[in-house]
């Protein structure tokens, strides 16, 4: 449709809109520059300082101010041009079909390539502890993102307190392991179940809420869990956290230099990297389990009901779908994966404290889901890589790190307002599976 559609009248229309666009871009740039002038005139234009006798001394920096305003003016034009070229609406029409098919091929290849690469990371970077640790961190967030994706992306329920389930999972493992001496492999399902239970508990009061109200209550829930952990000293150790959490074992074989350790049994020399590599594959397996279960669930009636709920709750009820249990299962499933990730976090760190479970974590995971494109598994993985890996990439920029990172996010959102992978893949098809454009897919009402 797009290839044939660009005929003479269409081209003419583009040229007309481009002529109008120049005036528009210029106007927008002038407005931006004016706003910048007002903002920076005091912040940059005048510099004040306390003099040696305590009096106020000030001097002007009009040169810097002019440079700043000019930058904003030029930047605004560049941004507008970029927006018009790569704009979200026009991308499909401007990119020629051949490039599109190449891109589609690349898109299809990216998931398997990424997966193979991830499997090989510990082999390639065996001697680079930093990369391995970063890989584990990224994979943890991939898993958290996939877990939250069930709630936010599929069921369309905005959850700002996801970190609560992460915390429940982490503390479940930490306390069960340190108090009763249970092994990681026994505690892992228990942590998931406990977190799911908390998910249902959160689900009940918020069933009737939508949108902003749902977001606020889930946010409060996340804070409540954190505050309970801080204040319930006798159980959780309060702000001191839980220390001495046992490290995971390879089904009972510890990864230590001891005589019964894995290295000794295999007859190879012990290296602390073994444990890191083991943790890497452990979180990879957990993340892939999350992915596999989510993909399966989408094709089952429950997953379709989640998506239908996101699309239209009233229609769901008219079709005899119990929206209460559907929402609760979404919360419980998402929470369970959060709990698994929490248990992994506890065993990796060996020490947990409430500081690890602040709202910032919830916000970061939610940002990953939104940036990835709500509901898309691959998108979430790419977004986690970009967010966590990208943040590390800018480490050399010191105090400008946040600024550059924020700017990158803004640009990305201008380019792709519905996330990296904005379209939705159907769960069942008769002949061909066409991706569904994000314009049609609802975001849910919370």
């Amino acid at each position: 449709m797009t290839g044939v559609g660009v005929t003479a009248p269409a081209l003419e229309a583009t040229q007309v809109s481009r002529a109008a666009g120049v005036a528009f871009i210029f106007k927008k740039a002038v407005i931006s520059a004016l706003v910048a002038l007002v903002l920076f005139s005091l912040m940059i234009g005048i510099r004040t300082e306390a003099g040696p006798a305590g009096q106020l001394i000030y001097w002007t920096r009009f040169g810097d101010l002019a440079a700043m305003v000019a930058t904003v003016f030029g930047g605004s034009i560049v941004v507008e041009l970029l927006r018009q070229w790569w704009g979200p609406v026009d991308t499909v029409r401007i990119v020629p079909p051949r490039v599109q098919s190449t891109l589609a091929l690349a898109r299809r290849a990216i998931a398997p390539v990424l997966l193979v690469f991830t499997f090989l990371v510990p082999v390639i970077f065996y001697n680079e502890r930093y990369i391995l640790d970063l890989g584990i961190l990224v994979l943890t967030y991939v898993m958290l993102g996939w877990g939250l994706n069930v709630v936010v992306g599929l069921a369309g329920l905005l959850d700002l307190g996801y970190v609560a389930f992460y915390a429940v999972g982490a503390y479940s493992y930490a306390l069960l392991a340190t108090t009763f001496g249970l092994s990681f492999w026994v505690c892992l399902p228990l942590a998931g179940i406990l977190a799911a239970l908390w998910g249902v508990l959160l689900g009940f009061p918020v069933l009737r809420l939508r949108g902003d109200y749902l977001a606020i209550v889930t946010l409060a829930f996340g804070e409540i869990i954190r505050l309970v952990i801080i204040n319930w000293q006798s159980l959780t150790g309060g702000p001191n956290g839980v220390t001495g959490i046992p490290r995971p074992t390879l089904f009972g074989i510890p990864l230590t230099p001891a005589d019964d350790g894995l290295a000794a049994r295999l007859g190879i020399e012990f290296s602390p990297t073994h444990r890191i590599v083991f943790l890497f594959y452990l979180i990879l397996a957990l993340a892939l389990l999350t992915n596999w279960v989510t993909i399966r669930l989408r094709r089952l009636p429950i997953g379709r009901a989640w998506e239908a709920l996101r699309e239209d709750e009233v229609a769901c009820r008219a079709l005899g779908i119990n929206t209460t249990t559907t929402k609760l299962t979404a919360f419980a499933t998402g929470a369970m994966f959060g709990g698994f990730a929490g248990a992994f976090f506890a065993t990796r760190q060996g020490f947990i404290s409430p500081e690890s479970f602040t709202f910032q974590e919830s916000a970061l995971v939610l940002a990953i889901v939104v940036l990835g494109g709500m509901g898309s598994q691959l998108g979430v993985a790419l977004a986690a890589l970009a967010m966590i890996g990208g943040f590390e990439l800018f480490r050399g920029l010191d105090q400008y790190r946040m600024l550059v990172f924020g700017l990158a996010m803004v640009l990305l959102m201008i380019w792709r307002p519905r996330g990296l992978i904005g379209h939705r893949a159907p769960t069942v098809f008769l002949r061909h599976s066409h991706a569904i454009s994000s314009d049609l897919v609802k975001e849910g009402h919370g």
Binding site: P301, R304, A318
Partner: protein, 277 residues
């Protein structure tokens, strides 16, 4: 009226604060017949539908649904999704409510949710890919395919529902309601926005649904050509009360109905009618 009624509405009243949307309404819908509910805008027709399908709790009155096996269900005692799940009442909406981001086929699969949930062992059997689930899923796809074929949308099965033309969306919504295997199908203005040819096709579809599936249909409609052609019984409402009922022919000649539609006083209309005859 004969005794074989699928739906008996008795003294139904729905009040919103001080406004009485439906007042003391009683009527029956016969089994395997098409009953039309007509009336001017704001007469309370959709409110009646919302009461029947559980979106509103009526202020007073009863609604009894009698299944083929003589099982009675009091609809006012069930809430929202149970009306569709247990009482087998399906509905469509005045402003189409499909799942726009899902394909036509997916829309029909969602409609079979309750049957598929049972077949998937509440998800657990489905998760491990049990053979019983696979066959159930295949059957559900066949059922959906059948309906897509029937409404002429088989070629667009894999297109997003939100991308379909308006008339197709209307038919898809009816097919989706039918996929819940209802005993009573409630259609809220199915011909709204359709052209004459599409309206005729719709009439045909509704008649064939009734003939092949033994479904009783309750219909709200403004398009008189559709109402007159397919309904067996017509109930006319105005200002929340029933003003007439009978066969399409009877209703069409009723002075009260003409008055309601033309906005004239009742006496005036009767006077006009009498002077005419």
């Amino acid at each position: 009226m004969s005794g074989d009624c699928i739906l008996t509405i008795d003294h139904l009243t729905m009040r919103f604060g001080g406004i009485v949307a439906v007042h003391d309404l009683s009527f029956d819908a016969e089994r395997r017949k098409i009953t039309a509910l007509i009336g001017p805008n704001g007469a309370g027709k959709t409110t009646v539908f919302n009461c029947i399908t559980g979106f509103y709790k009526p202020t007073s009155g009863t609604m009894r649904l009698t299944h083929d096996d003589r099982r009675d269900i009091q609809l006012e005692r069930l809430n929202d999704f149970r009306i569709s799940k247990q009482a087998k009442v399906a509905r469509t909406f005045q402003n189409i409510r499909l799942f726009p981001g899902m394909t036509a086929l997916e829309n029909l699969m969602v409609a079979q949710h309750n049957a598929l949930m049972r077949a998937s062992g509440l998800t657990f059997l489905g998760l491990i890919g049990a053979p019983s689930w696979r066959t159930a899923e295949k059957r559900a796809i066949d059922q959906a395919t059948l309906w897509l074929d029937r409404i002429g949308l088989i070629d667009r099965a894999d297109d997003a529902a939100g991308n379909l033309p308006y008339g197709d969306q209307r038919r898809l919504e009816i097919a989706r309601a039918m996929c819940t295997e209802p005993a009573l199908l409630c259609l809220d203005e199915p011909a709204a926005g359709l052209n004459a040819r599409e309206s005729a096709a719709l009439s045909e579809l509704l008649l064939s649904i009734r003939a092949d599936h033994g479904v009783s249909i309750l219909l709200i409609e403004h398009d008189m050509s559709v109402v007159m052609e397919i309904s067996d019984h017509v109930v006319v409402m105005d200002y929340g009360v029933k003003i007439a009922e009978g066969t399409p022919q009877n209703v069409r000649d009723d002075p009260k109905v003409i008055a309601a539609y033309l906005g004239a006083d009742e006496e005036e209309a009767i006077a006009v009618m009498e002077s005419g005859t």
